[in-house]
Amino acid sequence: MNNNGLFGQNKTITLKVWRYKPGTIDPPRYDTFQVQANAVTTVLDALEEIRATQDGTLLYRHSCHHASCGTCGMRINGREQLGCVARLLEQGGDVVVVEPLAAAPPIADLVVDMTPFAGHFAPAGMRLVRASEFNAEAETPPGIERFSRYEDCIECNLCLSACPVANTNPAFIGPAGLAAAYRALVTGERSPAEVFADVDHDNGVWRCHSAMECSAVCPSDVNPGHKIMALRRELVVAKVKRFFKGG
C-alpha cells in the first residue's frame, strides 16, 4: 500500500480485531494492529496486509473484493458492513474495531458459521433471474436480447447480524429469509398457501418488530424490512378476507 500521493496521504490506523480460536485464543480477546491507510484502503485490504506482514494466523473470509459475493461481512465499529468496500478512513476515527457478524456462531476470528443463515434462507427457494439495471448502454452480443442479473441478495448475513430479534432468537427466520419468501410470493414462483405456511407463525413474519436495521445495513438494496412489511400486509389481507368469508 505504498501509493502515497495518488490516493491522498497515508495515515496510521489502529485496528482492534476480535480474535478467537477454540482452545487457543479462548476466551476471545482483541488484538491491536497498526496499518497505513489512504483514501481507498478498505478494511479488507488492511486485514490482508496484517495477515501478510504481521500475523499469519488471522482468519477472515473473502472472495470477490467488490461487494458481489457477500463473503466478507463483518462488524466495523459496531456496524455491519462488507469489509471489501468499507473504506478504513471513512470509519470515523484513528481506531477501528473489527468484529465478526453477530447472530451467527463464531468459528475462528472473523469467520462465522453461516449454517443458521442458510437454514432460514434456502427454504424460501431463490431462483429468480431478472433484467439488469446496470450497463444500460452496453452492447449485447448477437443472439442475446438483454442482460440479466441474479437477485439482489448476496447472502452476506449483514441483515441477520443487525436484527435485534435474530440476535436473541436463532429460530427467527430473519430478514433475508422473509424477504426471499416475499419475492417468491410476488413472482408467483411459490403459491401464497406455500409461502404463508412458511412464514405465518411465531418465528416468522410476526416476530419482526420493525426496527428496519436490516434495510439500513443491507449492502445490496434488497431492503428486507420493506419486504417483511409487505409480506405482513399480504397476510393481514388474507386473514381479514378469510375472517369475513368465515373460512
Partner: protein, 122 residues
C-alpha cells in the same frame, strides 16, 4: 416442522394493532377525564363516585381495562418470544400471562362494580 399449536398462536400482531388503535382513543379519554379536566389533577373520592356512577362511564372503563390488559400481556409475550424459548416454555409464558391478565381484569372489574354500587347507594 412447526406444531399446530405454534400455527394457532400466530396473528396476535393484528390483535395488538387493533387494541393499540383503540387505546389511542380510550387511553386519551382516560387521561383527559381523570386528570386533565379535573381541578387539582386527581379526582377526590366523591368525584370518583360521581363519575363512575354513570353506567356508560363504567362500561367504557371496563372496556378500557380489558383492552389495555390484553395489549399489555400480548406485548410482554411478544418480548419474551424474542428469546430462544422452546414450545413448552412458550406455552408456559402464554398460560402465566393469561392468568395474570385475568387477575388484573377481575380485580379491576370488581373495583369498578364496587364503586358503581357505592355511587348508586349514595
Amino acid at each position: 416442522m412447526r406444531s399446530i399449536e405454534e400455527k394457532r398462536r400466530s396473528g396476535t400482531w393484528i390483535g395488538q394493532a387493533i387494541t393499540g388503535v383503540l387505546l389511542v382513543i380510550l387511553l386519551s379519554l382516560h387521561m383527559i377525564v381523570h386528570h386533565f379536566v379535573v381541578e387539582g389533577g386527581l379526582r377526590t373520592y366523591e368525584q370518583v363516585l360521581d363519575y363512575i356512577g354513570n353506567p356508560l362511564v363504567v362500561t367504557i372503563e371496563i372496556l378500557f381495562l380489558v383492552v389495555v390488559t390484553y395489549h399489555a400481556m400480548v406485548g410482554v409475550r411478544a418480548i419474551l418470544f424474542d428469546l430462544p424459548l422452546n414450545e413448552r416454555q412458550k406455552g408456559l409464558v402464554t398460560q402465566v400471562l393469561t392468568v395474570v391478565g385475568v387477575i388484573i381484569v377481575g380485580w379491576g372489574v370488581f373495583l369498578a362494580l364496587w364503586l358503581f354500587r357505592m355511587a348508586r347507594m349514595a
